[in-house]
Symmetry: C2
Subunit: 193 residues, 2 copies
């Protein structure tokens, strides 16, 4: 009974966030390969059987961690957007916030957008849509309707591309990620009518 006596016990509702937090830590330390349900329970200090009610398999845990990432991204974009002086500034601020988000947590960014992203989890799909909605909503607030879809995709592509190049170490640059994001975002904004 050694394992049980040293395990923490959680109130219903606290265990899930504790497991997601433990998974996030492991992800940052060693990527998705380092992540197993076993390692997560050890890190969270709970019994090996504890997570199965919430996460029947590793994929389900990864999906929840990615959804957690999209919820944070949505909040980050919303805050950047609402602090800006006008609609165009808001769009630029979202772009910079997106790149900063990726560079501050590359492992989470890779999980959210990489090919290893788990599929077919409604919670994850909804969280991703909500984050995209912050961008699409801002575009819709000042772009003409016929161009909105292309403008939103272009804005997403440029910051996603810059973030990916930075996170994957493809750029030799003196400027900080935020400065690069500001320059690139300003340039793209000139094309938005």
């Amino acid at each position: 009974m050694y394992t049980m006596s040293t395990s923490k016990s959680y109130h219903h509702g606290d265990l899930r966030p504790a497991l997601i937090q433990a998974a996030l830590e492991l992800l940052r330390e060693g990527g998705t390969e380092a992540l197993s349900l076993r390692a997560v329970t050890r890190r969270a200090g709970v019994s090996a059987m504890a997570p199965y009610r919430h996460f029947p398999e590793k994929e389900a845990l990864l999906a929840s961690v990615a959804a957690h990432g999209f919820n944070r991204l949505r909040a980050t974009l919303s805050t950047a957007d609402s602090n800006a002086a006008d609609a165009r500034e808001a769009l630029a601020a979202q772009g910079v916030a997106y790149v900063r988000f990726a560079c501050e947590d590359p492992a989470l960014f890779r999980l959210m957008f990489g090919a290893a992203q788990p599929r077919n989890y409604p919670e994850l799909g909804a969280a991703g849509d909500a984050a995209y909605g912050v961008l699409a909503g801002r575009v819709a607030s000042f772009c003409r309707e016929a161009e909105r879809a292309d403008v939103a995709l272009t804005c997403w592509s440029v910051v996603h591309g810059l973030a990916s190049l930075l996170v994957d170490g493809q750029l030799r640059q003196d400027a900080s990620p935020v400065m690069l994001a500001e320059r690139v975002t300003r340039l793209v904004l000139r094309s938005v009518r």
Copy 2:
């Protein structure tokens, strides 16, 4: 002596491309994880010791495959560029060619740009620089000097972002990758002066 008698023998100079070709096939089938020097020699039909002269370790082989990818990308961008009617069209054509390249060979694209990319191989660095040079050269041919670096980075970011989102299955879209690339590239070009 069974292994030796069934192994192909290559003239000096033919073995290296044969090994790279075998590695490319394995990469497309199962990603970098599926790739070992052992598996590559089996696929190429040569003895297990054959590659060590060219590739002392797996990293060196991956670097050569990635360099091969950048050489192909450079050629693809050059061809697209030189078939265009004018400088702006050439830049747009390069963007579309970049996205098509990624979508036609996602495993190679991921190796070239992913975090698993091998470091510190001069051949690879030179091949990457040469591919980027096709874009930078076109930008320099018609953009004012003060903006060239930002314009080139913006163009690269937008097509790299779109390619990454497509390759990683992040977009639900009806349009083909090439059509999306054309729309996004045209929009960004409006901002290039």
